[in-house]
């Protein structure tokens, strides 16, 4: 029953968070409602739209399809954890601004998570690989083109910086 609470310990954006949560609490509800990390958005709650994407141990996952208890012992990165250490925008975040890779901003955190996970694994992705990586994230504003452009630009800039 929802009355029973379970202890969890999760590293969220580099900070260890301890909590007692009901088994049925989804990861996204815990992040948003309990930790007030409201950058992660809820779009469909059935795992299709990708707006709630976060990284779990570096891999993008749907936080609406996971329970908070399942994150116990894992590392979670949300959009709030993508910025540079000094709080300024990451190369990818800045690139989204540059190419107008967003409009309403609602799918954007999930897009950033999916794209950052791609760039972490592949510093020089082609257009098809970028489209594949964001293929599980729906956007109604941009038609995807400026998002693809943003990821390309970020990859270029990150390679240039190395």
């Amino acid at each position: 029953m929802s009355g029973t609470l379970h202890s969890i310990s999760v590293e969220v954006n580099g900070v260890r968070r301890e909590a007692r949560v009901p088994a049925r609490l989804s990861l996204v509800d815990w992040l948003r409602d309990e930790l007030r990390l409201t950058g992660t958005h809820v779009g469909c709650e059935h795992g299709v739209c990708g707006a709630c994407s976060v990284m779990l141990d570096g891999e993008p996952v749907r936080s609406c399809l996971m329970y908070a208890v399942q994150a116990h012992g894992h590392r979670v990165t949300t959009v709030e954890g993508l910025a540079k250490a000094d709080g300024s925008m990451s190369v990818l975040q800045d690139s989204f601004c540059e190419t107008h890779g967003l409009q309403c901003g609602y799918c954007t955190p999930g897009m950033l998570i999916a794209a950052q996970a791609l760039l972490d694994a592949n510093p020089d992705p082609g257009e098809e690989q970028i489209r594949d990586a964001i293929g599980g994230n729906l956007c109604r504003c941009t038609g995807y083109q400026p998002i693809v452009d943003a990821v390309k630009l970020a990859a270029e800039r990150m390679r240039g910086a190395k």
């Binding site: 049925r24 949300t78 964001i134």
Partner: protein, 804 residues
């Protein structure tokens, strides 16, 4: 596409590359959407929805739910409908009443019957499951053709008919043209029920302050007259409702008009004395949220001559708006302003019927009914070309309004401000490399593949005016759809623009800061744009109808010009000269020919704020200006035969699409997509291009994938993203946009509006491309969406020799 660092129009800031002011907060997760608003002590709502398409509510048993821990209240339709007024309706149909909770009967599956308020959404949902509603089912009607028949079940028996609105307009000598024309065709085109389906569902939070008597509302809203309608339905004075517009809206494209949600939550917050929030889940959004779109068939007739000259159109349009009406019948009204497309067609008959069935109600969708109409017109153009064995592009060139004909008045009464449609079409064809495209198609066909090219040309009426209201409902004499801006220059010299609406991604903060910067000659980066609440706001009609570049841009420019004139007057008074002797540069004012004789921005601001003795006699101290602007060309009433100027500015677009269809799976793939677009001067090209890309993607959805399907017993069969298919990055191809600029003579900078581009001509062009691909088989599809299955059936039927 990349945008030039410098303005191509010779402006300082307008038209130059400029990052949107809004972006940093969104990419860092610092947006503030309605679901992020957590009020102390806030309670949550869950709903009980009807499982039946049509039924009488016999009894509602709430005892078990109320006994559950954490449950505060259960609201039924009986209480709610007695305590609030029916929501406003656009057309003259007073018996078609509508509340957020059903009153005695349910008229569609998913209609809300009861609302539970609990400590958390989860507890509220648990309790909603324990509410027992007894129904007695009633006859229902789902098919619009059936709903039109005498004896059909009536959705609203008190109204006496399923028809909400019907009129036959005849503009020009239609019958004469049909009698004299050498050729005529007739066909039906059908637009499937889809919508914009934003990734954020609708949500609203409300808090009643018994001390002040004010109901505060935060909502993901895009709706004109929203505070007024909320107050009216709650039987409150207008100044008792305060809507906070500083809420980021996660996409709307027309549909975010949760007036029923708002009245419900507002009532609960006031009744219970606690803050209450309701955020739709996905199924509530798609089913009971009342945000589905046009569902329309067109019976088209075209009269034309052997040389391709189109003499007249007859359009019968039947739109199924579902079980209730808000503004949805008006979605047949706006297309009156572009009823013959971008073509010089001298006579048109238009017979719109707005019809009710037992389906989810319809809401405004991007283009407000224009995209379906464009689809029908553009299918007609391609069919005329096929009939005459004439080139589709040549036929369009022959009938497009020519640039020397502007200002051009169409038969239904709208005068078009400016345009060069041939130039835009030619640019799009050149960018697509039309001869290469034709070769690619023909090569594919020779190799046994199915390939087709589609073209569409259409208008994007902009500057959103509501003149279709007075056309469709003579009892409503609403002839202004103003918008406003307040500009403040504070003591530090910083500029702040105050706007009066929420935004759902259109970049209004970028728009206003750029316009203020342009007029005041100050860097837009330092201009702040904030949002009033509805009690401090100036009049606005919200960002609908591609209106904000024209209307908010115009209002901001008007207010900024007043500030500039004020500064010049202050300088003239202090220099004891005439304002004509002075010039304004970078915010400073100097004597013409004597740049050293000047008062700086900081000095002028200081005088305005502190030195009354240096102000011209009678001038208001401080430094602020407001401007409220009437829609240019607006204000008129229709003629008895229904001619009226509807929108002021007319943008234009031409689409060229190349599609290949897999013969075995019928899967279509868009291999090339070009849009030529002219919306006059673009204030921020990235923002215009962005919305156009998004419009194309949305059009791909409407053309090929998206449909709210209903079973025969009235159940929504596509209430998730696994069966209502939104195009992903894998379905939407790279799109090339080619700009053209024909300035509007009606606006400050020559801008027209945009926001519906891409969606307005996309479905038409894709339908034409698919039909071009199917033509060698003798197959045709005039029904959207052209799903894989529909295409497969067309291919299969052609193989059997029985085209559908």
């Amino acid at each position: 596409m990349s945008v030039a660092e410098k303005s191509p129009y010779g402006y300082r800031y307008i038209g130059a590359k400029r990052r949107a002011k809004e972006h940093p907060r969104f990419v860092t997760g610092r947006g503030r959407y309605v679901a992020d608003i957590a009020l102390p002590g806030m309670k949550h709502v869950a709903l009980v929805a009807s499982p039946h398409a049509s039924a009488r509510i016999v009894a509602v048993d709430t005892k078990a739910a109320l006994a559950m821990p954490g449950v505060l209240y259960v609201l039924t339709g009986e209480e709610f409908c007695a305590a609030t007024d029916s929501l406003a309706i656009g057309v003259d149909a007073p018996k078609v009443t509508r509340w957020a909770l059903a009153r005695g009967v349910v008229r569609y599956a998913g209609e809300w019957v009861a609302a539970v308020v609990a400590e958390s959404r989860a507890l509220a949902e648990d309790a909603a499951e324990r509410i027992d509603v007894e129904y007695e089912t009633l006859p229902h009607v789902i098919d619009p053709e059936e709903a039109l028949k005498p004896g059909a079940p009536l959705v609203h028996p008190a109204h006496g008919s399923n028809v909400l609105y019907h009129r036959k307009f005849v503009w020009g000598p239609v019958e004469e043209a049909f009698a004299k024309a050498g050729h005529r065709i007739a066909f039906r085109a059908t637009w499937g029920r889809s919508a914009t389906v934003p990734i954020e569902t609708f949500g609203v939070a409300a808090q009643w302050d018994a001390g002040t008597g004010i109901l505060d509302i935060w909502a993901s809203i895009q709706m004109p007259k929203y505070p007024d309608q909320t107050a009216r339905a709650l039987r409150l004075p207008g100044n008792a409702v305060r809507v906070h517009y500083d809420v980021d809206v996660g996409g709307s494209y027309g549909v975010k008009r949760g007036i029923k949600h708002t009245v419900l939550v507002g009532y609960l917050a006031k009744k219970l004395g606690v803050p209450v929030r309701f955020v739709e889940d996905r199924l509530e959004n798609m089913r009971g949220g009342d945000m589905q779109g046009p569902d329309r068939f067109f019976d088209m007739q075209v009269a034309f001559d052997a040389d391709g000259t189109i003499r007249a159109l007859k359009i019968r349009a039947v739109d199924d708006v579902g079980a209730y009406a808000g503004r949805s019948p008006f979605q047949l009204g706006k297309p009156v302003t572009a009823i013959c497309g971008p073509y010089a067609i001298p006579a048109v008959e238009y017979e719109p019927t707005s019809l009710m069935t037992n389906k989810t109600p319809q809401e405004a969708v991007r283009g407000f009914g224009q995209s379906p109409t464009n689809f029908a017109i553009e299918r007609a153009i391609d069919r005329v070309a096929a009939h005459l064995k004439m080139d589709r592009v040549e036929l369009r060139r022959k009938n497009l309004i020519r640039k020397e004909q502007f200002p051009y008045t169409i038969p239904s009464g709208s005068t078009y401000d400016s345009g060069d449609y041939h130039a835009v079409l030619d640019k799009a064809l050149a960018a697509a490399d039309w001869p290469a495209l034709v070769r690619a198609r023909d090569d594919a066909r020779r190799a046994g593949r199915l390939a087709g090219i589609g073209v569409s040309t259409c208008l994007e009426p902009s500057g959103g005016n509501s003149a279709f209201e007075v056309l469709f409902n003579p009892k409503v004499e609403n002839t202004t759809w103003m918008d406003s801006c307040l500009v403040r220059v504070d003591l530090s010299g910083a500029v702040t623009g105050v706007i009066n609406n929420s935004s759902s991604g259109q970049g209004h903060e970028s728009l206003v800061s750029t316009v203020l910067g342009e007029i005041l000659e100050r860097d837009p980066a330092g201009v702040r744009v904030v949002r009033a609440d509805s009690l401090t706001a100036l009049p606005s009609n919200s960002p609908v109808g591609s209106r904000m570049a024209v209307m908010l841009g115009g209002a901001a420019a008007g207010a900024a010009k007043t500030i500039r004139e004020t500064l010049i007057r202050i300088a003239a008074h202090n220099f004891e000269c005439s304002p004509e002797d002075l010039e304004y540069r970078d915010g400073n004012v100097n004597l013409k020919g004597a740049p050293e004789k000047r008062l700086t921005w900081d000095q002028l601001v200081e005088i305005a704020h502190r030195k009354y003795h240096k102000l011209p006699p009678g001038m208001e101290p401080g430094l602020q200006a407001k401007f409220t602007w009437q829609v240019p060309t607006g204000g008129g009433l229709p003629t008895p035969d229904g001619r009226i100027q509807i929108y002021p500015c007319y943008s234009f677009e031409a689409h060229v699409v190349f599609v290949e269809i897999d013969r075995d799976t019928a899967k279509p793939a868009l291999r090339k997509y070009v849009v030529g677009h002219d919306c006059g001067v673009m204030i921020n090209p990235d923002i215009v291009h962005g919305m156009t890309y998004g419009g194309v993607a949305h059009g791909i959805g409407a053309a090929l994938y998206e449909k709210f399907s209903y079973t025969e017993d009235g159940q929504l069969a596509s209430g998730t993203f696994m069966d209502y298919l939104i195009p992903s990055a894998m379905e939407v191809p790279g799109v090339k946009i080619v700009d053209h600029c024909t300035p509007s003579p009606l606006t400050e900078f020559g801008q027209k509006g945009s926001g519906e581009a891409g969606y307005l001509g996309g479905p038409a062009a894709i339908a034409n491309a698919v039909n071009d691909a199917l033509a060698p088989l003798g197959a045709a599809i005039d029904t959207l969406p052209m799903s894989h299955l529909a295409i497969w059936e067309a291919i299969t039927a052609s193989r059997r020799g029985t085209p559908p």
